[in-house]
Amino acid sequence: MMKTYHIASYSKITPTEFCVNGDKMLLRNPESQDLWLHDIYRALNMNYPKFFKMDKLCKSGILAAEPIMQNFMVKPDEIKTNWAIIGMNSVSSLDDDTEYQATIQNENNYFPSPSVFVYTLPNIVIGELAIKYKIQGETSFYIEQLFNTPSFITNVIKTFEVNPQIEYALCGWIDYYEENCDVMMMVITTHPDKSIIELNETNINQIYY
């Protein structure tokens, strides 16, 4: 029987809005003194101190994933071997690369930061998501020039096809550079009963653009 793919939940973070399943959960307060991502963290009432040690790419991924993973965390300690995590973006880890470069730029002030260095790879966000949600299935990260709907869908379906054990994928476009946050995450499943909408180009375009 041919598999069908469905979106079980989705979220989006832009520089001004945080949305879950199409509903606006938080609007950026221009008077806030804190980082926009920290405002979202507090709005979600999260208790995950490790969050504050992460780079902004990982923070974005975790925040976008948190509300859409809630329905799948009934047994919080259960290891998810039938899940995949698929990430994509265009800037790779450039935000961290730039920050790290600044710590080694001046030979008279040469103090390379280990905690910045560990985030100078874009797929670290996949690792952070895997730890947070106890996912031990397939993982992959793609770097593309721009968000591209057909490519997004192809990358996701390919993962399900490569490993028939995969029933769910936490996937998304996770881009962060110079305070510009462009994040869309979703849970995609082969289980029609978990579906809120079908996985197709029209629906992805509607969510992303």
């Binding site: 920290h38 504050f52 040690k53 930061s113 280990p114 905690s115 560990v118």
Partner: protein, 85 residues
């Protein structure tokens, strides 16, 4: 010494991004790693960089950190004895 301990607590919070923690929340006699603040190996490396940057102390061997970072007080005593700035 007490002033250095307070200074160190503030620096540790800032350098290690211990959000929501205040200097008075850190017990200067409690272990920094494992229990206590629950810091990890990357945090240890960051503390080594901080000691070099702020106090001119360069550890020849990263494993020396095991002794030095036992607590904030032990760290302060080491800094006071070895600082070059």
């Amino acid at each position: 010494m007490e002033q250095l301990i307070e200074e160190l607590k503030k620096q540790i919070i800032e350098v290690l991004n211990l959000e929501g923690m205040k200097p008075e929340d850190i017990d200067e006699n409690a272990p920094l790693f494992g229990e206590g603040l629950g810091l990890d190996s990357i945090d240890a490396l960051e503390l080594i960089v901080m000691m070099e940057k702020n106090y001119g102390i360069k550890l020849a061997n990263a494993s020396e950190g095991r002794e030095i970072f036992k607590s904030v007080r032990i760290m302060a005593e080491y800094i006071q004895a070895h600082r070059t700035k």
